[in-house]
């Protein structure tokens, strides 16, 4: 039998080889995988910059140039015809192009806010940038994959650098604790994902979404496998009951890494969750997903109400936002369909990346300037001394709360209207009520900024950093642009 297997494999391999080689080096493949290739090449250059003396000075230039080239490659896939490559395991179309742009933006925002953040570890910043770029490459791979194996490689390319980055401040107890907690739970989630994939493979005989026969989907093995895969993805996007690690890790990790995690990781996992749910989850899972979404929103919003540390508060707020996005996943099983859900999720995440990126970024700046954790108390009276920073932070809070004229509002509107169209009216109404609860803690931050005097012993910094201020301003412009003139973006997604 083994001899027969080898015989069979050589013949299939021979037949496949000629066509496969031609396909791998075709222009179409290169264009589809361009952003990932550019990032991979950038990673190699950064490694080189670390080991060749003299090249270290070029590190920042390499980082920016790589993001730029990858962005240019992603821009070329937007509007181009959809390209399925590597035997239908990877896709490049307008949506994945925009997702890639979003990951690059998240990476760039976190990286810019991280400048001058590290003090004891500043000699290791080359490694920091290298790991960040690997994680970004992983995100791009995750968003484009339509195959369980390719996604897994992307997931690990993202996760392993993030474990290391979370524990980057090796001498700080909290940082190492955050890294370890994230690692232990992340490795558990990866094992769960793998066992789930194995069950799906046993049930369907394939790992590629396009090749799955819909008739196989009802089998017990596939349902168990899809549930395990969903559980591990829920861990990555911090959905109840797998959200417990989020506040701890966000608080303990270095602030630039938290910024990166909060925006990029969540976006990448949702970019894959939509097609995966469309391919693997049966229609009956819709109501279960809607209930989990509501519980997640409740846990996140009520958890955030009692927080004083700003990173923890934003972490719980991120859990609530993941719940809202899960509502779009639940709705895709109904009438609107996966494409409409993908558009809503992408727009919501675009607004969230700039909003949360800006908010976490300003926390990064304040933490770095004062050398202390940023709490509600420590930002009191910021508006009097740094009106620009306070206004930006207030705008981010309003957008997170979903106030009209901000990108956050339109994202929420798209998701909730999707839920209504998918016959989830009651769920959408409860979700809207929970969003109102959320305003309580966002407004608490604004009250502290504008209406309370500076605390004794907790002075706010008298100067803002020019670079951080500039990035925060750019994020604020994007938040307003997505809220006021969203048409160009929404149109390009059709």
């Amino acid at each position: 039998m083994i001899a027969a297997m080898i015989q069979a494999s050589t013949t299939t391999a021979d037949i496949m080889k000629a066509g496969l080689m031609e396909e791998i080096f075709s222009e179409r493949t290169l264009q589809a995988t361009g952003p990932f290739m550019a990032l991979s090449f950038g990673i190699l250059l950064l490694v080189l910059a670390e080991i060749v003396p003299g090249l270290q000075l070029l590190r920042k230039l390499i980082f920016i140039a790589t993001l730029g080239v990858a962005g240019w490659c992603a821009w070329k896939t937007i509007g181009a015809p959809e390209a399925w490559v590597f035997e239908d395991t990877y896709v490049a179309n307008s949506t994945t192009g925009w997702w890639t742009m979003l990951f690059l933006a998240a990476t760039f925002i976190a990286w810019l806010f991280g400048q001058r953040y590290y003090k004891a570890e500043s000699a290791l910043e080359g490694e920091h940038d290298l790991l960040m770029m690997s994680a970004c490459a992983g995100m791009v791979l995750m968003a484009g994959s339509r195959d369980l194996l390719v996604f897994f490689v992307g997931l690990e390319l993202l996760s392993v650098p993030l474990y290391t980055l979370s524990a980057f401040q090796r001498s700080r107890r909290e940082s190492v604790e955050a890294g370890l907690k994230y690692f232990v739970l992340g490795a558990f989630a990866a094992a769960t994902y793998l066992f789930g994939s194995a069950l799906v493979y046993a049930g369907t005989g394939t790992l590629t979404f396009k090749a799955i026969n819909p008739a196989d989907l009802g089998g017990p093995l596939v349902i168990a496998g899809a549930a395990l895969i969903a559980a591990s993805l829920f861990f990555k996007v911090s959905v109840f009951p797998f959200h417990m690690w989020v506040p701890d890790v966000y608080q303990g990790a270095p602030a630039p890494v938290t910024t990166f995690m909060a925006t990029g990781t969540k976006a990448a996992a949702f970019a894959f969750l939509v097609p995966a749910a469309a391919a693997l989850l049966p229609y009956e899972s819709k109501h279960l997903a809607a209930v989990i979404a509501l519980v997640t929103m409740a846990v996140g919003n009520f958890g955030a109400l009692v927080q004083t540390d700003l990173k923890r508060l934003l972490a719980y707020s991120g859990v609530a936002h993941a719940g809202t996005l899960l509502l779009a996943i639940a709705a895709l099983q109904g009438e609107p369909g996966p494409d409409a859900a993908m558009r809503a999720v992408l727009f919501y995440m675009a607004a969230y990346v700039f909003t949360a990126g800006g908010a976490f970024g300003l926390v990064t700046m304040l933490e770095s300037q004062t050398g202390r954790a940023v709490t509600i108390d420590s930002i009191k009276g910021l508006a009097a001394k740094r009106p620009g920073i306070a206004a930006a932070l207030a705008l981010f809070m309003l957008s997170l709360g979903g106030i009209p004229a901000t990108g956050g509002f339109l994202g929420k509107y798209l998701v909730f209207s999707l839920a209504v169209r998918s016959d989830l009216l009651v769920v959408a109404l409860i979700g809207i009520v929970l969003s109102v609860v959320a305003l309580a803690y966002y407004l608490r931050v604004i009250v502290a900024l504008y209406m309370q005097p500076e605390m004794d012993g907790k002075p706010v910094p008298t100067q803002a950093r020019a670079l951080s201020g500039l990035v925060a301003f750019a994020c604020a412009v994007m938040v307003l642009a997505l809220g006021l003139v969203p048409a160009w973006f929404l149109d390009s997604l059709r």
């Binding site: 194996l149 190492v176 990866a190 194995a198 005989g205 790992l207």
Partner: protein, 109 residues
């Protein structure tokens, strides 16, 4: 006498459950890492069992190679995770002189 592939899948399920139980019950980080390793290997075994099942199925076009290939990827990534995990354990021990998860609780509500 050949072992049915379903039995291999059941064995993999039991191994996975043992690993998951150990993950939740044990408090020593090293033992937790071993439990994760057990879960990863359970996934490997089920990939191979599933591949065998699809290869021996009537009407199969050839060997189902996705399973073994995925298993190779898992082995590589398990090694990566072990390396990073043990590095984190060393950093933890330098900070706290302990590798017990109960002592790792500075961050909480």
């Amino acid at each position: 006498m050949t072992v049915p592939s379903e039995h291999l899948l059941i064995l993999a399920g039991i191994l996975f459950a043992v690993g998951a139980a150990g993950f939740f019950l044990r408090r020593n980080v090293i033992v937790v890492l071993m439990c994760i390793e057990l879960m990863l290997n359970a996934a490997n075994l089920s990939f191979l069992a599933a591949s065998r099942m699809h290869t021996l199925k009537a009407g199969a076009l050839g060997p189902a190679l996705e399973g073994p290939i995925f298993a190779i990827f898992v082995i590589v990534i398990a090694a990566v995770e072990a390396a990073v995990g043990l590095a984190l354990v060393i950093a933890l021990y330098r900070n706290r002189q302990s590798v017990n998860l109960e002592d790792v609780s500075d961050l909480k509500d």
